[in-house]
Amino acid sequence: MTVILSKQQDNKEKIWKTIRALRDFNVEEVSIVVNVAHSIVSRYIFQLYQAGYVRPAGKCKEGNGRKRQLWRLVKNTGPKAPLPCRCLYDPNIDDLAAVKEVKDVA
């Protein structure tokens, strides 16, 4: 299967690598660790959520009392980052995952 990949995959590669190693994570934490803007991380994790790769895993409380969504990776397919291209292309299993429409939970 050939899929045209976008240029921005470097960031996604980093994010994917990090969330694979962490058990639970929130967007904030990942964006600090990989040094990528919050909005990019948030968008990518939401795309992963829509394709069923991560799922919400409760909330965590921050220092200022605000609550944050925690995520957990449930489909750890391999070292290559799945890439969104209308649906989500996973280079590890060379397959496309359907993106289902979900209501915003984040």
Partner: protein, 227 residues
Amino acid sequence: MKKVFARTSNVNSFVSAMTRLLKREDGIPGMSLLFGEPGLGKTRTTLWWCAQNDGVFIRTKKLMTGRWLLEEIVAELGEAPMRRTSELFRQAVDQLLERPRTLFVDEADYLAHDARVIETLRDLHDTTGTPLVLIGMDQADKKLMRFKHLYDRFSEIVRFAPLSAADVKSVAEQMCEVKLADDAVSYIHGQANRFRRVVVWLYKAESIAKANSLKEVTTAHLQGVKK
């Protein structure tokens, strides 16, 4: 609060050890050990380093055999693992020679019960020369000291220590948007030496400063919160 990765003295010593490891001269072995109590950010720090540089992160499991470990390494390097152990080892070596990457092995003290597994890592390092970092819990150095050949190859041993007062100060300077007086820093250090707890205190200090429009937060202000 600024959202940055705060560089504590632990992080700095890790980064300088990694730099020395990557730029080492011929003949100096390229293995390194990183250990410390849980919750000091060993994993986060390595992941942060991995994101900026080329690194492969492997988390070991208690039941891991040599074959399983090799399988995991090969998969992580981006190849489909073959069936036989000899082929797996060759695959790993080929991948590492083709594109040298630093290997991080988390929870390495799990492997300490089995000499064959841990010596496989040493073989991998000896045949390819890629830097290899073992990450372990507290006392990991003592557990691994039994393996003399392995221990000799650790050219850098980094121990993560709980935050010192100087660390709290530098974290506050990097993350906090208000200035903390010296006594406030030592007060926070007395209350918390884990990173996460320190951040909670910094949040408190910031909200106090905001509410009272202070330029600098002192111990008296911080103690006032408790009542």
